[in-house]
């Protein structure tokens, strides 16, 4: 195995481990809603939530990077250029994340000046990492971009997939720079902050996972490059066509002009259209290949990606994206429900699919067998559907009682929080959270032990 593929395995392993932290802190965060005063003054809800959502970002980024470093040598036919620096930065990145988590948990708050932002916390959701760590993240991305661009230049081969991936790297890095300035006007701050969050999650990340899944489909199902690239270009057009101005649905209530209500509503309502095409495509692929593959878990996780994306981002998003509804649903558990389902459907499922492919190839397994992956697949999907369903019930109760009836007053908020519908949803959420965490451990165990329980390739096949 070459150095780039080894680095891919390391990043994907780190991503799966980080998913564990993501889930454990998510489960811990859910307990705050059931037991008032839980860990009060020791590890407050905001700190637990902060670790939970930052773990999500890092797990996704490590998953994408792992997949890119894994597929790059196959795509270009050469070892990745500058891989030594990338391998060094992997350990720096892992160490930096560990330090940031320790600071988040044990230091928690910094002073309200520049030193607090440089050393402890920048204070904005999803990009709380202190500035020194944010500088490190930029360095890692620049190295990844260098690895990709220099390898393409050396191989003298610009495939369609690599073209999209290289184009994606530019906005990926550029919008992250928004994490650095700290405007004092909250509307201005949120205006640009949403550029970073939305353009990552609903534009550049979509293209990255699109490229990764295109490479995965070629390997897993033997789909031709021509077909994969045509659909990738189509996805680029549709995702960017609806996704970029879909940014407007985050601008509804932050002090921006009223025209954003129409722009945001219309373009985000168009977002399910390309996702419906993905559902049809998934059925086509599953049917034409008659579910015959040597890596069924990877294949099923890819199918789950198409459906999860449609349901989580499409159905759940459309319920609350029109401004008239969003006025009440914004910032309730309803939003939380949509966010969990969309992230899981669009990204986590895709990363797990690639992790199974990498485990199979790196260990020379002819066919992925066993029952553990089935339990993990069923448990994670049932747990996720149950959890977002429970959150939806709680969120609708909050929007109806606290906002629509209570007029968004403190009394309305308190009434919504103590309402039995809200509480039952929260209890069910924690219950389904336990199922998800248990299923995650089965998944991690399965990925870790995969080669030991499956038939190995003959040495001749393993080296091809």
């Amino acid at each position: 195995m070459n150095q780039s593929k080894k680095l891919g395995v390391q990043y994907l392993t780190a991503s799966i481990v980080m998913m564990g932290a993501l889930l454990l802190f998510g489960l811990l965060a859910s307990i705050f809603y059931l037991k008032y005063g839980f860990l009060l003054g020791k590890l407050d809800f905001n700190i637990v939530k902060q670790v939970h959502i930052n773990a999500l970002i890092i797990a996704c980024l490590w998953g994408f990077m792992g997949a890119i470093y894994w597929f790059l040598p196959d795509e270009l036919g050469i070892e990745t250029v500058g891989i030594g620096l990338a391998r060094l930065l992997f350990w720096v990145f892992v160490a930096a994340v560990a330090v940031v988590v320790v600071v988040f948990i044990f230091v928690q708050y910094g002073s309200s000046d520049e030193s607090g932002m440089w050393l402890v916390n920048q204070g904005r959701k999803y990009v709380e990492a202190p500035r020194w760590a944010a500088v490190g993240i930029v360095a890692v991305f620049l190295t990844l971009a260098y690895n990709i661009f220099a390898s393409v230049a050396k191989a003298r081969k610009v495939t369609g997939i690599m073209g999209v991936l290289m184009t994606t790297m530019i906005p990926l890095i550029a919008v992250y720079l928004i994490a650095f300035p700290a405007p004092t006007n909250m509307s201005v701050d949120l205006y640009w902050w949403w550029w970073l969050v939305h353009m990552w999650v609903e534009a550049t990340w979509e293209l990255m996972i699109g490229c990764i899944l295109a490479l995965a489909l070629m390997k897993l199902l033997g789909t031709s490059r021509k077909v994969v690239e045509i659909w990738l270009y189509l996805e680029v057009a549709l995702v960017l066509g609806t996704g970029i101005l879909g940014l407007g649905h985050h601008y509804f209530w932050i002090g921006t002009p009223q025209y954003w209500l129409s722009i945001g509503g219309i373009f985000s309502a168009l977002e399910p259209l390309p996702l419906l095409g993905m559902v049809v495509h998934a059925i086509y692929d599953a049917g034409k290949h008659q579910m015959k593959t040597h890596n069924k878990p990877a294949f099923l996780w890819l199918i789950a990606e198409a459906f999860g994306n449609f349901i989580g981002a499409g159905i759940w998003g459309f319920m609350m994206t029109l401004p008239q509804i969003n006025l009440y649903s914004h910032g309730t558990q309803w939003t939380v429900s949509h966010g969990h389902f969309a992230f899981y459907g669009a990204y986590i499922t895709g990363i797990i699919a690639v992790a199974y492919m990498v485990a199979q190839e790196s260990r020379g397994i002819r066919e992925v067998q066993g029952n553990a992956w089935k339990w993990a697949f069923a448990g994670l999907n049932i747990g996720m559907v149950g959890m977002v369903g429970a959150l939806l019930v709680s969120g609708m109760s909050e929007a109806f009682i606290g906002r629509a009836l209570g007029g968004s007053t403190l009394d309305g908020f308190m009434a919504s929080q103590s309402n039995s519908w809200f509480m039952q949803g929260m209890i069910a959420r924690t219950g389904f959270g336990v199922i998800i965490v248990a299923s995650y451990f089965i998944l991690a165990w399965d990925l870790l032990t995969l080669g030991r329980r499956s038939e190995k390739l003959s040495p001749a096949l393993a080296t091809t």
Partner: protein, 98 residues
């Protein structure tokens, strides 16, 4: 929007996209199995989306601009599964030729 219609409108919007998803899913299954019965079921889901659109237009307090937008999207949804399927067959035919 008023309190009474907040949740019914949101749920109808969710059902609107759910029906579109079922239409696409069942349509693809019908084409895959070359079964007219299944394809007809798909059109049944599309009809349900139409009924949901009608309810959204007739009953909910959404502004008229949004109601027209929902009707326009409903019409666009009709074309997505057949066009996607046709394109999939065309591109995969190219794959076999090459």
């Amino acid at each position: 929007m008023n309190a009474t219609w907040l949740l019914p409108t949101a749920i109808l919007l969710g059902i609107y996209v759910l029906c579109a998803g079922c239409y696409g899913l069942v349509y693809a299954l019908g084409r895959l199995r070359e079964s007219r019965k299944v394809t007809r079921t798909a059109y049944g889901f599309y009809a349900m989306q139409g009924l949901t659109t009608l309810l959204l237009v007739a009953l909910t307090p959404l502004a008229w601009g949004w109601k027209l937008f929902l009707v326009a999207c409903f019409l666009v949804y009709a074309a997505i599964p057949p066009i996607t399927w046709r394109q999939l067959e065309r591109t995969h035919a190219l794959e076999h030729e090459s």
